[in-house]
Structures are given as structure tokens and as C-alpha cells.
Symmetry: D3
Subunit: 286 residues, 6 copies
């Protein structure tokens, strides 16, 4: 089993069913699939295959399956290439069988989820592949598409990536504006420690090695190195010497990431894998 | 005023406020912006500017403004570059002023909307520019990201494009599976006309000139030419001779679209402008 | 099979379940069916019949069935007279069996849906019958009861009628105020065509033959003749000569409709079939 | 001030705003009022009058006002003929002023509420008028249109009627099936009294004078006389002699109600005033 | 069967499922049970027992069961000690079996419902026990924890108590402020009777015997004696002499209640049983 | 300013408004505050004071204020004793002025929030006071009342306590079942580290000093000592010697907590402060 498969942790149906239902309502509007209702007999049965038109890393079949079953609980959806797996072009990912009307009614929403999320997983997997052999892990950010965060973060895991915080509430990330408002790194850390319990992580963003040194001296154990060049990142890693977990961010592309990873940082974060993922072309063939 | 500005038709607040609120809830989780709450005094006031880091066509500031005001009705949001307008890199798009905490709490959600929707508008505008001088209009599809259809379709308008149907219910689009199920083009059109009122459009998809001819002979007035090469499209236009509105789809890229447009078709539809749009980098500077 | 049965197109459960659940919540309030809970043993089983007390066209059994099953998925609901069928007084429309408590708890909501929607279907069927032999089709309007539009439009189809647009968004209907605001028929049509894609219908309302002539000359293909007398309608049909689809509206009653239909118009729209339908008396007998 | 005005008790905005918003969403669909957006300048201001086309009792302007303001909080809505008042044909009921687009976008939903609810109030007022001089009060039932119960019950009050229970939960109404299940009037009343607190009313339905006598002897203080003829009702009143509140139901029409009221019963309940009310024609004139 | 068991009337699943789902969403947040997902194989099956750590009256297993099944419909939940029954310390209340991950994911929410509601039932049962042999019934109030009213009122019934009104709408309770505003007991009763139908109870609160006498003389049949000492309560009972139902409230504790009950009042209401109930310790053992 | 005041961090209105609205709907039901509507003139204005009947730590006035304003945006709510402050018996906490009807309609819901949350804060403050002078901080658990977690966790902060994780998703807490399922402390930590990113805390629960030693040797930095006696806790603190943050839980009462705190642990967690808090009596005086 690949690591992505093992640690993809599909979200509980309870957490995603509402938004899949909402997406179906968005597409069915007030009178549903008029075309299929007018042209296909209610009794016509059939089966269809979801096939990857291009190679990629698969994610979102779990949502596609829920979409089909919300339209008709009688539809049978069988996954052949589970979320988190790679697929070749032409690979049959899943089959769905039952009333043809229901298959066609749910088709577009099911494919919109699977195509987009597989796009996110594929973009993530490419970065993961690019840093292979280094210690760097790929993480996502809060630059996700509105109301798709749970599923996009899951797709990142399907691509072999890791998740950063899920929102403003589950971890503290101190940025330049917070430092400025509190009057410096020492007071900002003091304030946070005075008000925060022991179950939330605190990361502080630094732009320079001097700031890094100050943060380390104050006991910061998780530090974001923003927009540093590979050489500075190397110096940061050396300076830190294991005292803190280091994350690099800014200008991460397939071209730049290898050099960044080789600096020895622990995590590299990318917004593009969630906010600019290219849809993986998946089709449905009756 | 540009055409995109004039015909962008921003969605009523009633139609989008719920999803912007939902996106804020997604980001604030259960305990809100812990970092800002711990480090910035509730009384600190300030102002910030939303700036385009790259050139593009702007869309989604209307959503960004709602995001800020849902967090704090006291935030003042002023738009300088309205949705539907082009922006240079560095252009100040809008300003927001009021409590700094509230600005930072809403920042990411506001930018996620504006960045993504401006990405859609920018991709659309590129296609519109590419077909300039032909009669072809650019239209979107139902290949939209789940639960973002209203805003993505609006962003397409901001980019100078037009909207195809909004869902399965507001127009009929007869595809190969429907034709097969009904037993041919003639019976499928007969069934649709027998059951449908006068206020819904009917489009039929054809793959060959022979099918086109049959559809025209049966009075079809809106026809989708799927995956035809430019030469066949030219023949289709000639054959149709104004009897029907023609839409071309399939394999639409910035490289291929000019030749397709020059065939004389009326509409060219693209899924990529909504399902694979690259985020337009927009930042917030305090 | 009657036309109404064939083309009634019952709405997907996904589109109506929420409002049926809401109606049950409205009736059960906070503590449910206190009377039945206190007086009928949880274990008591039984069966009941839904019977038409008066003759009419049936619609809404699909909603009644969902109501029973939302209260208890163990209730068995069998339809004998499907939506879209005529029923004599005394006809058994459906049976429901299972726990008596659950049957009584759901009874009123189930009957409220079935009685009202059958009332709409019956009123529609009466108009359809009255224009039999003419080419006129009966259509509904947006004068529907709040939040019942999907089901009322379905009931109109069960009565043999057709649906006009479903809302403000799925088709354009230009009325006098729009014409006035835009500065006349020519500019209003120009504006609409400049901003609208190819998948939305445009209908324009005219009050006089002169307006009709202008609209036709500008290529309008769907025209609403508002409040014209039968003689003027005849002239309008002659003048149009097949160049546009014609809809008549205003003062449509069982008394007036035959003369209007005989004018040769294509569609006749009625608000009363949805906003003033008389409930069809349906009872439940244990 | 009329009694209906004084005791109409308009529902708190909190209780009805959600359904008015839902009705607007139902009408605006995904892209809103396309026609007005394309043809009327956003900046155009104007005002309009809501006028009764027919005489009747007014109800629902409170909902109409909320509809206008949900579309645009800047719309000014002034009521001239408050809910609960009678209106002559032609009477100006209210005015609304502000952006013309917003007025037209909200118009239909506002009128659908006002027209329907005024229809309910008008039907109620007719029954109230018919029993004038007797002690009988008119009450509604649970035969309301799905999800309109709060507003329909309010409209009944606007018509001078009173409300029966609001749902299955706020009072006990023992019918034949409950009596049969519990084994008679004595055991059914015993069970109810054993399980129910002191803040819920108990009414028992009887079909015969013998049953009435038994119920009275067991201390029942609220009794429903179902489907009795006026002569039997008179006997029931005499027999009861003030020991219980009596309600008559079944076959209540404008023709039959006077005789029923003159029997001396306290309450007469009608389902038709809510399930079969004829819309009161109200129009909007710009 | 105990009275509490017989008259507990568990709320319909329809009325409580939404809030149980909401409680699960509150606990699962955006990424669910990360700990169990990372450490327990999806395929691991097991079973667990819900056990009372302390003795008490059980309530809320119905909610616990729904919680488990919302997380995984495949979980089997068997109740051994039904809601409304007493349990010894150590008693096995229910078992749940199926995927271990799902059991652990739902555990806390299930126990939070069961522990709190059993706490309410236990507190109620203690008061019921304390008044044994008197005619006094224990009733709850509207001093319930926000959004838990349906379940808390059910737990009161499980404890052998009765329910007061469910909200502001289902019965009238006239307090000092209402009397003052209306100008005295006579006018306040007159106003209420003029505007209210026959299916809602009216209770009036009095503080003195003089007020009681006035209320009785005006025909009040349900009277709340607020904060009276046992001796005054006895005088009130004697004065009333069966003409009205009497409820005592204020300063109700296990210490004070017996003397109050022995005064002969019909009902004693307590806010503490719902707003200050001590959790009954219930654990889950795998 | 007290620490509790400074770090209470009131939840954003966006996060709590929905549940306050829901609580009002729960109390107003379908027809609202019938008593006040019938007895108090709509035009009557007045003001009222919220007063503490007993001494305690205040929390939840922020929710009370929203409750009043949701019923009537015209109500003016002024806080005199802000959330997080101590109050003497009799202290005026806040005033509210405007229409008397609206004040009375919102009263119970406002007080239910304020009384319960002040109860939680008061219970927390008592524990905080009891450990004064030690390094121990008081934290809450996930044993919160269903759907009140955000507000209860806030009330804990108002009492001077700290928050543990907010749900199953924002931190990892490894318990005995997880250790057993994974095959021991070493493999369970390995699995968690392999699958988890750098922004989520990991705490592991141990029952013995031997387990503690193993956990420390594997680098665990946050450890829960479950149900250990003070002497063992002292040994655990000595053994740990600053290598990890230590939390004690189990059998925490006002009697036991001082000895536990003096062991030198960093955090002490209590479920009772949220699941068994006694309501702080707060009244409203017109």
C-alpha cells in the first residue's frame, strides 16, 4: 500500500454529504434533469465506467460515489482505483450501474468532484515526487477554494502531502502584522503563551536569519521561513540545528522546489496545489 | 464602460451571502482567529489595500467586500477597480479600513474568493481576446467547481464571456446517450417538444455533418458541434446557413481557439475557464 | 398512458424531501403527536387507505409517500392511482400500513400535500379539457404559493399543463416597465441580446397589435399578448403568421378560455390554477 | 381599531424571515432577475404602489415588506392599510420606493405573500361576518398549506378569526381512532390525564349525543361536535348547559354557517379558509 | 412497567436527529477523529458496553443510539436499560458493536447526551420520590439549556416528571409585568380571553392570597403560587377548594419540597432539574 | 484588567449568532410570545436590569445581548460587568431598554445563556482560585453539553481557565484503546508521526510511571497522567524533569485539586466545569 493510500484518511460521510447534496441541488435547480426525464424511460437500466482520460493521482471517488447514491440509493458504485492511487490514462477508476436516468443526472456533479480533487492530488504528488530522497514533506495552506477545504485537504493527503492547519482556530501562526502589533517577537510569544493552552501548536513566521535567531532563542519550536532563497534556507537549517521544525514557503514551483528541499527544511508549503490545480480529465462512458 | 463591466450583472447579495458566511465559518472553525485575538488589541484600528500582484481581469471583489462586512459590519470596503475591469500588476483594487483584528480575520477568505474568481475572469478574457474580430462568443459549461457555480458564472461574465445553461433544469441539452435512448434524432426531438413548454431552449449535440443535416431538417435551432476540427466546423457553418445557432466545443485552448472561431460558429464553450482557472495573485497590505 | 402521466416528471426526491421534512416539523412542533403517543400503543400495527372524497386529477402522492416514510421508514406506502391520473369520488388512491401511531402522526401533512396538489392538477385539467381540439397549451405562471413552486409546477404537469419559466433567472420576460426603462422595444431587445447567451429564451409582452408588429419586425420569436380580447387575439395570430410563438394571458377562466383558445394562440397562461386552487378532498380511513 | 387589527399579533420577524428569504431564493434561482438586470440601469430610482384590485381583508403586508427589504435594505416600504383592515377595490395598500430594479425583483414574491394571505383573511372575515350577533367564533384547523402555517394562522387572525392548536404538540385532540385504540372514552381520558401536565388543553371529538353525554360525565371541558346537523347541535348545546366549550366542524360554508352558529356552539372550525382560499388580486403599479 | 417508562414518550427521530448530527459535527470539526483514523485499522471490529458508573435514572440512550448510527449505519446498538428506568452503579445500559473506529469516533457525543440527560432524569426522579404519597406532580420550566429543550423535557418525563409549557407560544402564563401593563388581574384576563382561542391554557401567577382570591373570583382555573411558604400554600389550597389547579414554584430543593407538596398543591415546578443537573457518569468500555 | 478578562477572547458573532437565533426559535415556537402580545401594548417602552442574585464569575452577556437584539434590533443593551469579571450578589450586570414586549420575549433565552455560562465560569474560577500559587493551569475537556462547546469553552476562559482541544480533529490524544490497537506506545507514536503534519499537537495518555518513562524515551512532549494519586503525580513530575508538558486528570474536585496541583503538573483538566456546572442565578428586573 502506498503511503498516500494508508494515510489519506477519507473524511467521514457526515462531514461531506451536505456539500455533495448542495452541489447536486445547484445542478438540478428547481426541475431537475429535464433532458433525461423527457428522453430516457424511467425503467431503463445500464452501467457506466468512470475512466481517467489523462494519467494522475486519484482523489474524490468517495465524493462521486456519494453523489450517485444521493440521486438514487439504488445505484451501485464500485471503486477499482481507490483514492490515493496513481492511474494511467485510460484506466477504469470505478463503475456505476442502475437506472440510466439517475446515472446521467448525477454524472456531472460526480465528475466535477472527482476531476477537481484528482487535480489537487496530482499536483501534490508531483511536488512530492520532486523532493523524493530529501526529508522535506509537502504541506498545503489555507489558500483553498471556498467551502472545499475538507475535500481539498483530503486530496492533498491522497497526493502524499500533509496538512497544515485547517483554519484560523486550530493552531497559531504568528505573522509580521501580529509581531508588529505586539511590539516584537519576544512580546508576541509571551502574549500567546500566556493565553493559550497546551494543545495548540504555535508557529512563527520570520523573514530573516536575525529574526530566526531571536525566535529560536525564545524557544520557538516551529518556524516558517518566508520567501527565503535556497542558500539562506541552508543557513537557517544550520543555525537551527534541530531546535525547531522549519517550514519553507513562497514561490514554490516544480522548478524551484528541489533546491529548496535540499536545504534540509522539514516542510514546504504550497498554495498552488489547492488554489490553482488543473482538473484531471475523467469521463463517464455508458 | 467595457462590455464586461456593463453586462457582468453581479449576483444579488441574497444569492451569495450564505456561501460567503459558510466559507468564513470554514476558516474560523470553533474558536476563530486565535492568533489575532491573542496578539492584536481589540481597539487597534487600521486600513489595508488589496493589490493585484499580477495583471488580470478582476472579479469577486463583491464577495470579498461581503466577507469583510460579515466579520465586522463596521469595516469600510471601497472598490477602486470594479469587477469586470482589467488591472495591471500592482494595481490597488480596493481598500478596507476599521479594526485590524477584523481585517486580518477576514483576509484569507476575502482573498480566496477574489483570487479565484479573478482567475476565472482572466482565463475567460484571454479567450475573448483571442477571438476578437470574429462573431464567436465565449461561453462556460457545467464543469464548474462544486457549489461555486453562481460566482464562477458571474466571473465568466466579468471576463467578457457569456453563460451557457446554469444547470440541468433551465434548458435542454440532448446528447448522444439521450438520442440513443430515444431511438434517433427525430424521436428524441419529438419527445422533447411534446413534453416541454415554450420558455426553455433546446440544444442538440451532433458529432457529424450528417447528424447536423438531420437535426436542421427537423427544425433544430440550436446545435452543439462536438469535437469537430476547424475545417468541419466551416462546412457545418456553410451547411447551416443561418438556420440555427451553432456552438463549438471540445479541445478549446488559447492555441486552438482562433481557428475555431474563424469557422464562423456563434459560440465556443470552454470547461477549463471554470474548472482549471489559475488563481490571480491578490495580496492584502496593511 | 395519458400524456399527463407520461410527462408529469416527478421531481427528484432530493429536491422535495427537505420541504416535506420541514412541513412535518411544522406540524410536530417540539413534542410531536402527543395525542397518539398517549393513547395508542407503540406496538399497534394497522393499515389505512387514502381515498378521494370528490372526483379530480391526482397529484402529490409522491410527497405523501415521502411524508409517511420520513416519520417511519418502516411504513409501507403503495400507490394505486398514480400522480397524473384522474380519480372518481371514492377511489382508493393509495394504502399505507405499519405502526398506527406513525400513520396518524404523518396523516395530516401527507393529506395537506396530496389535497392541495391534486387541487392544482384538477384545476389545470379542467382548463386543458376546455381547450381540447385547439392547439392551445395551458401554462402556469410565477403566481405560485411561496415555497411550493416545484411541487405546484409538477401538479400543473400532472393536470396536463405545461410549465412557464420557473423563476426570474431561467428565461427573460420583458414587460412594459422594462420596455419603458430601456426606451422602447428596439433598444430593449438590443440590450437583452447583447448581454444574454444562447441558452435562455426571451419573451416580450405586448398590449397592442402595433407593438406586436414592431416586435415581430425585430425578430422576436416568443410574444406574450396581455389582456387582449378574442378578436384581437385572432388578428394577432393572423398578423404573426407563424413567425413567433404566441401566449395569451389575462382574465382566463373556464368561461373565457375556449374563445381565447380558438383564436389560434399557442399557449394560454393562468395564475389561478396555482394561486387559487381549491383543495381536492382526500381522506384517510384506517 | 377593529378587533382583528388589535388581536392580529403579527409574527416576530425572526419567525418568518427565513421563509420569505427562501421564497425569494426560489424565485431568483441561480442568476437572479436577468430581465431587470439587463434592461434597467442600476441607478434608476422610482416608487410603486401596491393596490387592491378587488375588495377584501388585508393580511401579509408585513411579509411583503420583508421581501422588499431582503432584496434591498434601501427600499422604503410604507403601509397605508395595515394587516387586519378591510380594503375597497382600488385602495392603495402600501408604497415602496428606491431602486426600480430591486422593486421589480421582489415584486412577485411580495405579491404572492400578500395576495394569498389576504385571500385567507378575506375568506375568514366572510365567515365572521356571517355569524355576527351569535356567540360563535371562527377557528382554523391544521389543514393549512405546507410550511405556511404561521402566516396562514396569522391571516386568520387578521380576518377576525381565532386559532385552533398550531400542531400535533401544543394541545391534545382525541379522535375516533384514539378512542378506539384506548378502548373507549373513559380509558382514553384516563390515559391522557395520567400522562399530561396541566398546561395543555384536551379536546375530545364526538359524533353523537350519547358520546357527548359520556364525555361530559367524565369531566371533558372541550368537545368537538363533528358533522352534526344544526338541530343536533342545538340539542348538544342544551345538553351541555355550559359545562364544556363546544366546537362544531364539518361541512362549513357561507351557506350553512349561520344555522350552525345559531345553535349556540362556541367555536366553528373551517379548513377551507386556509386550504382553499382564493387569492386576493393585488397589483403593483410603478 | 414504571409510569416514567410508560409516559416518557421518546421524541420522534425527526425532531432530534438534526441536533445530534450537529453535535457530531461540533466534535468532528473539519478533519474528524484524527487519532483513531491514524492508529486503528478501518477493518478492526469490536464491541463496547455503556455502563453507569453511579446509580441513577436513565435517559438519552435514544440519542446515543442515533449518534452511533449517524457515524456508521453499520453499528449495532442494543439497549438493555431503557430510558425511564432506574440503574444501579455498574449496570450495563447498552452495547454497541461494529467497526472500532466508528465506536470511538461517536463515543464522546453519545456519552455527552446520555450522561447529561440521565442527570436531568435522576434529579427529577429524586424530587418525584420526595413527594411520594402526596398528590403533587413535579414539572419542569422554560429554564432549560439553550437548544436542548426537547431532550431535557423528555428526560424530565423519564424521571417521572411532567412538562410545563414548551415555549412562549403553546400556553399563556401571565406574570406580574403583564398584570401591571394591562392594569390589573381583571383587565389582563379580559384581554387574554378576548384574543385567545379555546385550545390554549391560561395560567396566572399570584404572589398573595388576596391576588389568588381575585383570580379565582374571575374564573381563573390554573394558578401559579410564586414563592409562597408552606403555610401560605396550605391556606391557598383551602381557599381554592378545588376551583383551580394550583402550581407552586420558587426555592424548590430536596430539603424544601416535601413540606410544599404536603400543602396539597397539584404541581411543583423546578428550574434546577434542567438548568443545574449534575451529569450522571456513564462510561464506555471496549 | 484581570487575566480572564484579557484572554477571554469572545467568539465572533458569526460563530454564535446562529445558535442564539435557534434558541429563540425554540422558545418562540410557531406563534411567539402570546402572553406579552396579548397583554402589553406594542408601543410601551421601558428598561430592565440584569442582576446577579448570587456572587459569581460572569460569562455569556455577549450572548444575552445578541438574543435581545435578534428579537428587536432597536433594543439597547449595555454591559456594566463584562464577561470575565467577578460579580457580587445583587450586582447590576447589564441594562436593556426599548419596547417592553421585546424585552420580555427575549428575557428567558438571554438569561438561560447568561446563567448557564456564568455557572461554567464560576465553577472554573473556583478551581483556578484553589490552585493559586502553583504552576497548574485549569483546562476543560470535550465533556461539554451538546452544541454548546464554543460558548462553554469561552466561559472556561472567562473563569480564568484554558482550553484543551476543541474536538476530535484539532489535536491528537492517544488513549489506551489506540495504544492497544496499534500494538504499544512505540508503534502508536510512529504511526501518528508518519501521518500527521507539524501543526497538530500530540498528547499521549499514560496510567503508570512505567508507561510515562517509555513515552518520554520516545520523545513524547505532552503527556496526560490519568487518575494518578498526588504522590504518583509528584514522582511523574520528577521523572519527567521538564522534558514534557504534564496534564493530570481524573477525580478533580475542589477538595482534591490543591494536592494535585502541588505535585507540580502543568495542567489539570476537569469535565465537571462544563458538564455539571450549576446555573448562576441571574434575574431581570423591569
Amino acid at each position: 500500500m502506498t503511503l498516500a493510500l494508508e494515510f489519506s484518511r477519507p473524511p467521514a460521510a457526515l462531514l461531506i454529504e451536505a456539500q455533495i447534496r448542495q452541489a447536486l441541488e445547484e445542478d438540478l435547480g428547481r426541475s431537475g434533469d429535464v433532458t433525461s426525464d423527457l428522453t430516457i424511460a424511467a425503467s431503463q437500466m445500464g452501467s457506466a465506467r468512470l475512466a481517467a482520460r489523462k494519467p494522475g493521482r486519484i482523489a474524490g471517488l468517495v465524493a462521486a460515489g456519494i453523489a450517485f447514491q444521493l440521486i438514487d440509493p439504488g445505484l451501485k458504485f464500485d471503486v477499482l482505483v481507490p483514492d490515493g492511487s496513481p492511474a494511467e490514462a485510460g484506466a477504469i477508476l470505478a463503475t456505476v450501474s442502475g437506472p440510466v436516468r439517475a446515472i446521467l443526472t448525477a454524472e456531472r456533479v460526480a465528475l466535477n468532484f472527482a476531476g477537481h480533487l484528482s487535480g489537487v492530488a496530482t499536483a501534490t504528488a508531483a511536488l512530492v515526487e520532486a523532493v523524493k530522497g530529501t526529508k522535506a514533506r509537502i504541506v498545503c495552506t489555507r489558500k483553498t477554494l471556498p467551502n472545499l477545504r475538507i475535500l481539498q485537504k483530503y486530496a492533498v493527503r491522497c497526493g502524499g502531502g500533509f496538512n497544515h492547519r485547517f483554519g484560523l482556530d486550530d493552531a497559531v501562526l504568528i505573522k509580521d502584522n501580529h509581531i508588529a502589533a505586539a511590539g516584537g517577537i519576544a512580546p508576541v510569544l509571551a502574549r500567546v503563551r500566556a493565553g493559550l493552552g497546551h494543545m495548540a501548536k504555535v508557529e512563527i513566521e520570520v523573514d530573516t536569519l536575525a529574526q530566526l535567531e531571536e525566535a529560536l532563542s525564545l524557544g520557538a519550536d516551529t518556524i516558517l521561513l518566508d520567501n527565503m532563497l535556497p542558500d539562506d534556507l541552508k543557513r537557517a537549517v544550520a543555525l537551527t540545528d534541530g531546535r525547531a521544525v522549519l517550514e519553507a514557503s513562497g514561490n514554490i514551483t516544480l522548478q524551484t522546489i528541489r533546491a529548496i528541499a535540499e536545504s534540509g527544511v522539514d516542510y514546504i508549503s504550497s498554495g498552488a496545489i489547492t488554489h490553482s490545480a488543473v482538473n484531471l480529465d475523467i469521463g463517464l462512458d455508458l
